[in-house]
Assembly symmetry: C2
Homo-oligomer: 162 residues x 2
Amino acid sequence: MQLAKGVEWTTHICAMLPLVPEGQGLSVDALADYFEVPSAYLAKQMQLLRRAGIVRSVRGKGGGYRLARSPDDITLLDIVTAIEGPMPAFRCTEIRQNGPCGLKRKDCKRPCEIASAFAVAEQTYREALQAKTLASVMQDAAMNSSPEHMVEIAGWVQRQVA
Amino acid sequence: MQLAKGVEWTTHICAMLPLVPEGQGLSVDALADYFEVPSAYLAKQMQLLRRAGIVRSVRGKGGGYRLARSPDDITLLDIVTAIEGPMPAFRCTEIRQNGPCGLKRKDCKRPCEIASAFAVAEQTYREALQAKTLASVMQDAAMNSSPEHMVEIAGWVQRQVA
């Protein structure tokens, strides 16, 4: 079980986008350069974020992607769901209905006990990701960062949108 | 993000193996027939369970796989780890060290805040799976099952090992 690389990339990107000045955005190429990731694949991931209403695109000079809402209002679960889709990791194929002792469909109205146990575990995972906002991730990162590094990032952003 | 089908299959199998009489086992072919799943792929999954010490194989007539320890002592996490391996779903590739504003390696001794947040969420997932034993899954299943169905399964098992 592995999350798509796009989850790591776009989470880092979302944690950096709040540094983009009002009314401006960063191009996919600039974002791909910033993290040294492939531009074509990143373009698809950013489109998934846009469809989910996490980022929006700004047109014209200095245009590109910026956050569509406050980092307080974006959680890690929002990003994972945008990239991975809403399907559970455990996908019950109702094999209890298969084979020589298979249950009849009409006797399977309750979810299978095994599927239920996995669903409970996944729910705790989703709740933990939902409890973590982008604002909180940024706060953690700022506390562990140096002022010089923050200035360096802000300078790079400025050069992209100039 | 999706768990391998083998997790569903082998969890169902492990919940059925306690019905196998002492000293006997079920062949991969019998297990594959029971759940109508492909035998060759299942054989690999059962080997993973064996390497993890969840099942063991019994030789000779009526031989095959049986549980290697009590269903009280096998958790859903044991099965998932046997099939999927121990790697986390979120795999940090340290992209904070990439690109024009990349951090120096020496400044990255603490884990990245983003990787840490995902690790916390995954830990809650693993703990929920660890709290669920096979014995408990079987108890849930027995409560939702009919006596007739239990007799049917036991009869099928008896015919395989006879």
